[in-house]
């Protein structure tokens, strides 16, 4: 199994593309086989085929004519499929997400007319099954590309432009997304998870994300929060309900509820959090996250606090 496959569609858009793909492959593979057989066969023959030049002309002419018809057919099928996949505006009842690419992570904002119900998160998207989701994408620095193969084709995130695409998940599941436009040193580790859940479950997740961060419950976590607010962490990261509102890095208000850290690079465990804080550059060389000099106790306390931010 593969978490990021074009051929395991989980929604109508990806499904349509998958069907189109198999049509293309079936037809073109057959043509390829015929071409190769016709090319290799004369090598085994001793005598030239006794065909007159006009006959040859008719053969080449009809092969060309057949190619024209097949290619017109494929163009039409492809453009029709494209209408359903690529160029329709998102339906009015879509859940609208703003995704902003940065070197090398994803900023995600759930639009809402009521400002108090806007959710901001990073590197993970939760969506309800059966409801269209529109992605309005842009970039803060270089060009990135948003791509969840199980759900939809890719769309570039371009500085100075806003690009729109939409998709829908038909079944619950976790689908991996990855940046698909070369964006520098850590292009390889710019991943993200898309979690599709039943609407009830999604609403519950939404409510949780709207809440401010959890208060520390023990001395270690309290120490961790002090470390966070007292060091350079708070310059770049925000934690709702605390004075930290840095915007250069992912929002950490509900960090512990996410599957991974470092944009899909490491499973989100307390150990990995401590490792990541201790030495981000050896895990993701070139990442914008600097090494923050902390004692081992402080680092563990910080990991403990971050790990409690459900």
């Amino acid at each position: 199994m593969n978490p990021q496959s074009v051929l395991q569609a989980a929604g109508p858009q990806a499904h349509r593309i998958e069907t189109l793909w198999w049509l293309f492959v079936g037809l073109l593979a057959a043509i390829w086989v015929v071409t190769i057989v016709l090319t290799i066969l004369p090598a085994a023959r001793r005598n030239p085929a006794g065909l007159s030049e006009p006959n040859l002309g008719a053969i080449v002419g009809s092969a060309t004519g057949a190619s024209v018809l097949i290619l017109i057919g494929l163009t039409v099928v492809s453009v029709v499929a494209g209408r359903g996949v690529a160029d329709a505006d998102p339906p009015a009842d879509s859940l609208v997400l703003e995704v902003t690419g940065s070197q090398w992570w994803w900023y995600v904002r759930y639009r809402n007319d009521d400002p108090s119900r806007i959710v901001v998160t990073a590197n993970e998207i939760h969506i309800p099954v059966g409801r269209p989701v529109a992605i309005r994408g842009t970039s803060l620095d270089v060009i990135h590309s948003f791509w969840v193969p199980n759900l939809q084709g890719k769309r570039d995130l371009i500085p100075g432009h806003t690009t729109v695409q939409w998709f829908q998940a038909d079944r619950p599941g976790r689908f991996r997304a990855q940046c698909a436009e070369f964006c520098g040193l850590q292009h390889a580790n710019m991943g993200m998870w898309v979690v599709a859940a039943d609407p009830g479950e999604f609403d519950a997740w939404m409510e949780k994300q709207l809440a401010p961060s959890r208060e520390p419950t023990d001395a270690v976590q309290r120490r961790g929060r002090e470390v966070f607010l007292g060091s350079s962490c708070a310059m770049c990261h925000a934690i709702g309900g605390t004075p930290a509102f840095g915007q250069n890095g992912p929002d950490l208000t509900h960090l512990a509820s996410r599957l991974t850290i470092a944009a899909g690079t490491l499973p989100n465990t307390r150990d990995n959090l401590a490792k990541w804080v201790a030495d981000p550059q050896s895990i993701k060389p070139g990442t914008r996250m600097p090494v923050v000099q902390l004692s081992i106790e402080d680092r563990n306390a910080l990991a403990g606090y971050l790990g409690s931010l459900q």
Partner: protein
């Protein structure tokens, strides 16, 4: 030397001696640097390009080693990104285009039955510019100045804000050098093909290979300025003097670059691929012992191919912000180029069926070409479909696709062409047995290396990643691809061994070892400096298949100066005799002067003026009138 004192032979010997003296290549290092002989320069292009092919191949192998398993720390992101940038830039700008130009420079005058290209000094100048461009990139690389923004250098990533250092500037200026070189070759080949054909070689008797070079040269002239606009004017100026072509914060737009770059970038593929079609036509014609079926269809599809190639560029940009009505047009155009390529394939197949086929090594590479290239064409049709492309764009599927098209479509025919024309160039045959062994290793290795990439691409593996997570399950296919790359390396070594061995002790070839039909086989192997004792004249498309006594020659050409015959564009009627220039060092000096300016301007803009002054001095020396010898009507 003949012992028979037949007057005819005696006369010919005297003529040969006179021509030898007039057309001699000067000796010594200075003399070699002064050479304006198309064969010398063509060989230099080919050998230099092969050195770059080896370098690009080593880079490819390093990338495959890094990707052989998930999470490998062999190279790390910076090195990996530098290496894939170097690999792409080397293969496109320093190998594929120059090697095709070099083959053209060598072969076209011989196939046309003339003694040199129309502008021999410009030809020398072009080679030096190409060499300096390649040296610039690799010397800079050795000092650690390498771009890591990819061979396509998309801004803003390649812009001043996100790529510090001089790597991208070096890359951009390398392109200026090589594109000047390509433009120069294109100009001289167009004039050579249109005005210097053997008398009687009307346009519809032009060998198909020369047609491909003619069409390709026109494409170069229309496509190459676009890349200089994108790399030099946009990227370099944004980086060095603070223009804002691509900076959205100052009203620029990164997509502008993509349009201009791909307006060059897509025709570039056909600039590489069309000459390969010419190789295939020449090899198939000789090996099936009949004319290629459907000559007019072949020529028209070449020309159509060239036009269509300029209307496909947006299919590299389907995932950007393109209005979809426009995008549908580009789908249709992208698909239709399969028709023009298809016509060529159909005509070859018909030729093979109705000819008496000989299976040499060259023919192996041609059959391998059809196998691989047609598969690349099929995946190309898939990628022309917008919905499919939106999934597969920038994945390893695309890497597989264009290696099938470029290695299958250009490198295999080139290897075939090597086996086919090696006897002409060196006078010795390549070993057939070693050649076939190399073919099979390369063929199996190629498919092993690149077929699995289709599959990992479908499994979601993006391009240009230096590593991947183990849980993505991309490991086995990647390992297989690396094994394939190792096999390609071995195949390459067998090929090189064959070249070295055959060059020393291969069987002597004689002037026409394949019983071919076109004029280059009428010259000695290797051709003498003046190509032909008497310029040939032709009455059909396959002059060497005429009875020996039906062969026609031009007489009355002067032998005491470098004289060629100029003929009319359509019907190749003799018009006048033209003197070609003598060898000279000035093209090299002009290239050095202009090169100093181009390299200096990477650091300080005003070096452009220095280059302008030095280049002008070089051109003054180059064009200084030298008495009556060259200008006599």
């Amino acid at each position: 030397m003949s012992a028979i004192a037949d007057p005819q032979t005696q006369l010919e010997d005297a003529e040969r001696e006179a021509l030898k003296w007039t057309w001699r290549n000067p000796a010594g290092i200075w003399g070699r640097l002064s050479s304006v002989d198309h064969k010398v320069i063509g060989k230099r292009y080919i050998v230099t390009a092969f050195v770059f092919l080896l370098l690009g191949g080593v880079e490819a192998l390093l990338m495959r080693l890094q990707l052989a398993q998930p999470g490998s720390s062999l190279l790390g992101p910076l090195r990996y990104n530098q290496i894939f940038t170097l690999h792409g830039s080397t293969m496109m700008f320093l190998f594929a285009v120059p090697v095709m130009e070099g083959m053209g420079v060598y072969l076209v005058p011989l196939m046309l039955g003339t003694r040199n290209v129309a502008f021999p000094r410009l030809n020398a100048f072009g080679y030096w510019m190409y060499l300096f461009g390649g040296l610039l990139m690799y010397i800079a690389a050795l000092t650690g100045t390498i771009s890591d923004a990819g061979w396509f250098a998309y801004p803003p990533l390649s812009g001043p804000q996100y790529s510090s250092g001089k790597g991208v500037d070096v890359w951009a200026q390398m392109i200026t050098f090589t594109e000047i070189s390509a433009m120069v070759v294109a100009a001289e080949l167009i004039v050579t093909i249109l005005k210097m054909r053997a008398p009687g070689m009307t346009l519809n008797r032009l060998p198909l290979y020369c047609w491909t070079m003619l069409v390709q040269s026109f494409m170069v002239i229309f496509a190459m300025p676009a890349v200089m606009v994108s790399s030099t004017i946009m990227i370099l100026n944004d980086r060095t003097i603070g223009t804002h072509f691509i900076n959205p914060a100052e009203g620029g737009d990164p997509l502008l670059y993509q349009h201009v770059f791909w307006f060059f970038g897509h025709p570039e593929v056909y600039i590489i691929f069309l000459p390969a079609l010419g190789f295939v036509s020449a090899i198939i014609e000789t090996h099936s012992r009949r004319q290629i079926f459907g000559y007019p269809a072949m020529v028209l599809s070449l020309v159509a191919n060239a036009f269509l190639a300029f209307s496909l560029w947006v299919h590299h940009m389907f995932a950007t912000d393109i209005p979809h009505v426009a995008a549908a047009y580009f789908t249709a155009a992208s698909m239709s180029i399969a028709i023009t390529s298809g016509v060529q394939i159909f005509c070859w197949i018909t030729t093979l069926w109705t000819g008496r086929m000989r299976i040499t090594t060259a023919m192996h590479f041609v059959l391998g070409f059809v196998f691989i290239f047609v598969m690349g064409g099929m995946t190309g049709v898939m990628l022309a479909s917008i919905p499919i492309d939106l999934q597969l764009h920038d994945t390893f599927f695309v890497v597989a696709h264009f290696h099938y098209v470029l290695i299958g479509g250009a490198l295999f025919p080139l290897f075939g062409a090597f086996h086919y024309w090696f006897p002409k160039i060196t006078g010795r045959m390549l070993d057939e047995r070693l050649g076939k062994i190399a073919f099979w290793i390369l063929f199996v290795g190629f498919n092993l290396a690149f077929f699995p990439m289709h599959i990992v691409g479908l499994q979601g593996m993006p391009r240009r990643v230096y590593t991947y997570l183990a849980e993505m399950n991309w490991g086995p296919a990647n390992l297989l691809a690396t094994v394939g790359a190792a096999m390609i390396t071995i195949g390459g070594i067998v090929f090189i061994a064959n070249v070295i061995r055959s060059r020393r002790s291969g069987e002597p070839a004689g002037s026409d070892p394949w019983q071919a039909a076109t004029l280059e086989w009428r010259a000695a192997s290797p051709p003498e400096d003046f190509n032909f004792v008497h310029l040939p004249a032709v009455a059909n498309r396959t002059p060497l298949w005429d009875a020996p006594d039906a062969r026609m020659e031009v007489t009355g050409m002067r032998r005491d100066r470098r004289e060629v015959l100029v003929t009319s564009v359509l019907d190749a009627q003799p018009q006048f005799r033209m003197g070609l220039p003598e060898p000279t060092i000035w093209p090299l000096l002009a290239a050095v002067g202009i090169g100093i300016g181009l390299v200096g301007s990477i650091f300080v803009f005003s070096w452009y003026y220095v280059g302008g002054i030095l280049g002008t001095i070089g051109l003054l020396g180059w064009f200084r009138p030298r008495g009556a010898r060259e200008v006599e009507p």
